[in-house]
Symmetry: C2
Subunit: 268 residues, 2 copies
Amino acid sequence: MDINAPIGVFDSGVGGLTVVREIIRQLPNENVVYFGDTARVPYGSKSREIIIEYSRQIVHFLKTKKVKAIVIACNTASAYALDTLIPEVDVPIIGVVLPGAKTAAKATVNGKIGVLGTTGTIGSGIYTKILHEYNPAFMVVGKACPLFVPLVEEGMIDDPVTVEMASRYLKPLMAYGVDTIVLGCTHYPLIRSTIRNVVGDNVTLVNPAYETAVSLRTLLQKQGIYRDCGEPTYRFYVSDGAAKFSSFANSILPVELVETRLVPIEEY
Amino acid sequence: MDINAPIGVFDSGVGGLTVVREIIRQLPNENVVYFGDTARVPYGSKSREIIIEYSRQIVHFLKTKKVKAIVIACNTASAYALDTLIPEVDVPIIGVVLPGAKTAAKATVNGKIGVLGTTGTIGSGIYTKILHEYNPAFMVVGKACPLFVPLVEEGMIDDPVTVEMASRYLKPLMAYGVDTIVLGCTHYPLIRSTIRNVVGDNVTLVNPAYETAVSLRTLLQKQGIYRDCGEPTYRFYVSDGAAKFSSFANSILPVELVETRLVPIEEY
């Protein structure tokens, strides 16, 4: 495997850029190829079968870019498609759920953990399953927050409506006395401060993106394919709206995007 | 053309069922084949190019069902794809925008018309263009309401958050003194009462679904292919989540759905 080969990262849209941001910070020499499925976004309320089909097409596309590893930077796709794709792909592939759950398991003191996510991620029960592998005594409370993604995409970050919805979604978790909450969707870190204001200072908020980058580095180092010198290149592909994507990406990434290219993803 | 051939109706998801409901009421003997693109929903914030591509695939699918006419029951697809598809298809094809605009043009007294729609529909400027063909003196105020679709899909019909968003979206229109408002997205009639509460009783709310069914009947009668007797059949197809779709359809249609079938729409 070529050490200079890129890392493939994909998401249903722009949310996975929060994972790319962590990769740029923690693995600053790695080349990255990103795919955002902006034509078929969102994934959060769609079926397991269709998410597996879409994820498989994207993995086929990333393979044409000769990637040395793949990161599923979308919680819903990680929840539904990771286990199916691992035996189908000849490069290592990781999701964001396992790293997120691991961080939460280490962070909790009272063993009560809340998980926020899409309807798909929460409905899959995957965070609960993995957290119980760490400790069967953990109490895990999942809460689907279907309006957070459209609110974030509308830029209503500090809006009273977002505060109201955060309050509704988080109240049941707080009633259970959770001391740790996983932000189990890549959009949610973007309203972290609103969530923080609702839950107060005594709850640990876990962003799986950070630990995903840590896991990725460990994996590459173990396999002897970690690139630790040289200028990196970043390439971005989407299935729709390349200009809109570039503009969003330039606003949250610490690098200048040269361009975003359109891919007819249904053909892969 | 076979008079017993079905009418093909399509939408990005479930919203177009409000148009099917009107067809069942006004053309009670017509057979209907419906396709909802639930795998790729929503269309409202995606590009013209991708909406044309998706609409073209759906038209190809409907053609395999030997439809005698096609109704684009989605405002965004009507706005972006209708003009492109008309010369490509050998059966009559109509959208919801022209009938909606026609009704508004007849309804307004003071010539000030508001249009609510998705980012795509409003951005296309199509309602303004068509209304100005009726009367260049009309003042048309468009307002994109991107949160209405997720709010409706979450069932938050009478929720204070929906009232708050309706108030924000409608305030600019009311400030202009509009006397007529087009509900330019098939989801919006489902929150008609919330919108009514915000705008008061002196504004006419136009639901393009009603006039679309009227236009369809006129078209079929003119071409001598209107079916005015016999029991109708209704067939439903989606690209994802057939069970969820059936359940929603059964809640808003006056007929019992036998079943909804999955279609691999990307192959058309």
